[in-house]
């Protein structure tokens, strides 16, 4: 087995490929996709991935509901999305084909495990006739491969029970794809050895299946060529590959270090946020305490308690959980304690589409609490940005003593990209001082502590934690007198406190707008959160096609950048793609009286570059015509 093919097949250089591995949820497609991603990352490609999980844990085998997929795009140029339509689909059974074929680009390549196309599986997938020979696949390049059989033969000599033999077929597929795209074999062999350490038979079987796949490509005379995707011109440095949830969890852990505070996470499991709880639970050596609460209310309440005690407190959830946390967040707003809420948005209402992304919690984050209960809201724009946003949210929470909501979503949560590791010494210091001294005097001239005496610049109140001698004080949800924090029902005081809480949040230091692309264009695309990749790529395409287009992407949603209104007013048209019914549009319209045109999509699938491109192109053409 060498890197060059023995049959002297032509080696074609291509600039990118988008591969989608699809199979039954038990087929190991995520593992296969992950490993292909790692090898490609090490080769220096730019890449972006998008896993797709079934909502049911153990949907019946072979059914459409049980299909699990992993899309990976690798390229020799800078990319920001996992790609619109895969150019290669690996389908391990009829259900995977049926569920995924519509995604495949016209003329795309299909690598099919023909052994799985028996009557039983065809019926389970809802095929009346066999798509392999009824013309269904005529528009594609099909490569039928008897994967199950070859895998069984390959692993036979390792004493694997016939029942288990086929379980290695994902490694066969990985081997075949590795050959097709001239990936080195050693990293995968090493990976198999580490991953299955101590289970000799499994190592041998997977190794044999992987090699069989690779050799099949070389020797079976069904492929016309194999391909090479050269490294991308990425900024030099050390990279890792993370998904958004991992980056967010690490950001929270690191924020604790940067603030020199112990980290506390109160959480109740919910898709797609649970992985944050899982990841942070593994970081106990950083002094991170995780608490799996009895519900989301308790999760948020425990964070309030921990914050009162002086911890950097987090609570992670998805939409249904954020709804439950509302009252507790109002308490945190009133107590003016720092904490960060991570909302990994998913399709709703109610249970909705738990494994699919949506951006429809923006209004809930802004206003989903009783009374006037303002708090800062931020949103990451890419998987790697999740790391920075966790630190930024913590910075704001600590500096202004306020709960902050981070709006990520199910797409960022699970998709991954190469991340140029930050220089640890360059990370910001977000530490704040606890109060340890009296800050006022009573009528007798004695020193006293005023828990609601504000910093004149930030309007933050002092954070005096229990254990500090002399500064005993009580905080509560009943309206507090300015300064003393004592219960007060005075009308003027309530107005004052309402105004102060609002002014504090309005005054959060938020960087000015950055305009990407053609600052002087007629049209600007306004976006927030995970649509960044698709918008950025769409703007790039439009520019290639000769259009001028600007792109403003918001990471801070409350408060909005101070110059946003002024910047948006420079354009004849402002369009805003969002995975909702126009929530940012409404916010911006209401605040600036600027017409923001909504480009909506709420089908549980992230915007493709093509969708954004054509919607914006249409508008650009109208502008040109008018």
């Amino acid at each position: 087995m060498t890197d060059t093919a023995s049959r002297e097949l032509p080696l074609q250089e291509i600039d990118e490929v988008i591969i989608r591995f699809a199979g039954d949820s038990g087929d190991g497609m995520q593992l296969t996709g992950d490993q292909f991603t790692s090898i490609s990352a090490a080769l220096g490609n730019d890449l972006s991935t998008l896993p797709e999980f079934p909502a049911e844990i153990r949907a019946p085998q072979g059914t459409l509901a049980g299909v699990s997929a992993f899309q990976v795009r690798i390229s020799d140029f800078d990319i920001t999305t996992p790609g619109d339509a895969p150019t290669v689909l690996v389908a391990m059974n009829p259900a995977a084909l049926k569920a995924q074929l519509h995604n495949l680009a016209q003329g795309g390549a299909l690598i099919l495990n023909t052994d799985a196309f028996n009557d039983r599986n065809l019926e389970k997938a809802g095929y009346a006739s066999n798509p392999l020979d009824d013309g269904t696949l005529d528009d594609y390049r099909s490569y039928p491969v008897p994967m199950s059989q070859i895998t069984r033969d390959a692993v036979a000599e390792h004493g694997v029970k016939p029942r288990d033999a086929e379980r290695s077929k994902n490694f066969f597929a990985l081997g075949l794809i590795s050959w097709m795209y001239t990936r080195p074999v050693e990293p995968t062999l090493e990976f198999i050895n580490t991953k299955f350490r101590g289970r000799e038979q499994v190592i041998n079987a997977n190794t044999a299946a992987f090699k069989a796949g690779y050799n099949f490509g070389e020797t079976a005379e069904i492929f016309e060529a194999h391909y090479e995707v050269k490294p991308a011109p990425l900024a030099p440095g050390e990279y890792t590959n993370v998904n958004g949830n991992t980056a967010l969890a690490w950001g929270c852990v690191v924020a604790g270090q940067l603030a020199r505070l112990p980290v506390f996470l109160g959480s109740y499991p919910i898709t797609p946020a649970s992985d944050i709880l899982h990841e942070m639970s593994l970081k106990k050596n950083f002094g991170v305490r995780t608490f799996q609460a009895e519900d989301e209310i308790a999760a948020a309440a425990s964070a309030v308690g921990a914050a009162f005690g002086g911890a950097l407190a987090f609570t992670s959830t998805s939409g249904p959980g954020l709804a439950l946390k509302g009252e507790t967040l109002s308490l945190a707003v009133s107590l003016e304690l720092p904490m960060v809420v991570l909302d990994i948005q998913r399709g709703g209402p109610s249970t909705g589409l738990p494994t699919k992304p949506e951006q429809a919690d923006l209004m809930m984050a802004m206003y989903g609490r009783h009374s006037e209960s303002p708090l800062p809201v931020v949103a990451p724009r890419s998987p790697a940005d999740c790391f920075d946003i966790a630190i930024e949210a913590s910075r704001i929470a600590l500096k202004y003593r306020t709960p902050v909501i981070v709006l990520s979503d199910g797409y960022l949560a699970n998709s991954s990209e190469p991340w140029l590791l930050p220089d640890v010494d360059e990370l910001p210091d977000i530490g704040v001082e606890f109060a340890t001294e009296f800050n006022g005097t009573n009528e007798d001239g004695d020193g006293i502590f005023l828990p609601y005496l504000r910093d004149p610049d930030t309007l933050a109140r002092p954070w005096a934690i229990p254990g500090t001698p002399g500064l005993m004080h009580r905080v509560g949800g009943i309206e507090k007198e300015d300064g003393t924090g004592n219960i007060s029902y005075e009308p003027e005081n309530h107005q004052l406190m309402i105004d102060l809480r609002q002014a504090k949040v309005d005054g959060v230091d938020v960087p000015d707008v950055e305009v990407a692309g053609d600052a002087h264009a007629d049209l600007v695309i306004l976006g927030w959160g995970s649509t960044w990749g698709a918008i950025d790529a769409a703007a790039g395409r439009l520019r290639e096609d000769g259009f001028e287009v600007a792109h403003v992407h918001l990471r801070h949603l409350n408060p909005l950048p101070a110059d946003l209104g002024e910047v948006l007013r420079r354009y004849r048209a402002v369009v805003c793609p969002e995975m909702n019914k126009g929530q940012l549009c409404d916010l911006v319209r209401a605040k600036y009286l600027i017409d923001v045109e909504h480009i909506g999509k709420i089908d549980g699938v992230p915007f493709t570059t093509g969708e954004v491109t054509s919607a914006v192109r249409k508008r650009l053409e109208e502008l040109a015509g008018s």
Binding site: F286, A301, G305, P466
Partner: protein, 339 residues
Amino acid sequence: MTDTSITPTTQPGDWASDQEVRWCPGCGDYSILTAMRMLMPSLGTEPHNTVFVSGIGCAARFPYYMNSYGVHGIHGRAPAIATGLAMARPDLDVWVIGGDGDMLSIGGNHLIHALRRNVKIKVLLFNNQIYGLTKGQFSPTSEIGKVTKSSPMGSLDAPFNPLAVALGAEASFVARTHDMDRQHMMDTFRRAHEHDGAAFVEVFQNCNVFNDGAFEGITKKQNRDANLIPLAHGEPIRFGADGEFGVIDESGCARVVHTADVSTDELLTHDETKHDPSTAFMLARLARGPFEPTPIGVFRAVRRSEYAMASTRQLAAAQEKQGTADIAQLLRSRGTWYV
């Protein structure tokens, strides 16, 4: 039962905040507050290391009146707030105060989970069998058929027995006291304080405005002898002015008997340390309501791993195994490559 080993560094007055107490005149909450302020100096803790956490209700105003740290939270959530605080700060002395509606209705879920986790918080439930703050609706401890503004024809709800709930939630410390006996309150609160884990204390509390006299039948001076059964660890359970009554275990049910009718060794000997909670449960259910002989004191006090400390041990074990915090290492933990 006064602890003489501790020289008080504070006086009861040091534990009183400067806030005017605003309960209705005659409310049972006053005497509980006094008992707490009087007890505190002898516990060996300082106001700055003490936190009172509460939910919402009349009872929940308690933290404002103690000169310690305090959080007046939201309705029902005090046990959850306190759990986060006690986990983040195992060094603190954390008390949770709430009413029967706060802790058994809206916050019932948080109460049982805090108790089963055995996080070191001292939970005092002021049971007045009514919603005081919202002006007199029936509560989860009100007797069936209670006529209130929201139940003009009588409530249909069967009540909770707070101690039975706590025992069912595997609480490691369960006790009951009442607002008419300061010394008994102080002794019981002290025992709760000394307990290394979650402690649950039901305090019978008179709401003289909306449910006056609810416990009079058993807590009024002249009724106490005949109707309060003081539990004492290791001793046969007897009560009455001359010990003329006792409690026996009759095939798994506690029953009140005339001591004259049984031999002394037939009487139930109270063992608060018994791991099996069945006997405590049986005693908790001895009275059907506050109108017949009712045990008070410590029902159960057993040792069980404390939650915050267990969490601290995990942190230490993880540091031992994975090494202490290293950001650079964390960022490289999934493998890296160079471009």
